[in-house]
Subunit: 109 residues, 2 copies
DNA sequence: AATCTTCATCGTAATATTGCAATATTAAAT
DNA sequence: ATTTAATATTGCAATATTACGATGAAGATT
């Protein structure tokens, strides 16, 4: 198949899965880290930071954008990118939430 | 291609991407949520909780296991599953960490 | 021993992802 | 107007993922 049966799951489950999936590639993790490391919006030069060809980087940026994890602003010739605080915060809240639920009361594992 | 160029990224980037990828499917989010909701190790019956066939669930469990997000203990005929606190904690720490880095100082976005 | 239960694995089809070369687009610079 | 620079899109090949029926393996039940 290859297509997920998203209709059988809750909106939240699908939403979180989409965010996690968007972060499920080292290049995209690297992009997020880079955007955060410069602590500002980045116009261009993301391609130079990654060991991947320009179309590949562009594709990864697109996926991060689709998931809402980054935003891009057209700045004349270039495009300024930055991390979307709200979306990353949503994922953060979720992971925090489920992490706090772990108790492993009867720890068979 | 279809294969990620993992060798060009740091161990941490690859590790986090692997964890995120493992959570990048609603069924696997549902599995984690279910394991946490019962607040215990679950022997079997995960298949009954999901709208997917048994081999499919087994496959998803395998991926979660490979990523280290869950553990499975053989309990006679059945297998007891529970969430691996350490691994989920690692992802939680990471997301917390990068979330805290957001400042969007010159907010062009 | 034969059967049932539980879970994993195999095989396979459908689809998605990854990566890049080639090309297109758009705005700035000349 | 041409050229340059930055990014997106297209098209394609290689590989991965998702899903499930069929089958296998191993302990439990009868």
């Amino acid at each position: 198949m290859g297509a997920s049966k998203t209709e059988h799951f809750t909106d939240e489950q699908n939403e979180i899965a989409t965010l996690a999936k968007a972060l499920g590639h080292p290049a995209r993790i690297a992009i997020i880290e880079y955007l955060l490391s410069v602590d500002a919006c980045i116009c261009g030069d993301i391609v130079n930071e990654l060991p991947l060809a320009q179309p590949t980087v562009s594709q990864h940026l697109k996926e991060l954008k689709n998931a809402g994890l980054i935003q891009g602003n057209i700045e004349g010739n270039a495009i300024c990118y930055c991390v979307n605080e709200e979306t990353l915060g949503k994922l953060n809240n979720y992971i925090n939430h489920i992490s706090n639920k772990i108790t492993n009361r009867n720890n068979c594992c």
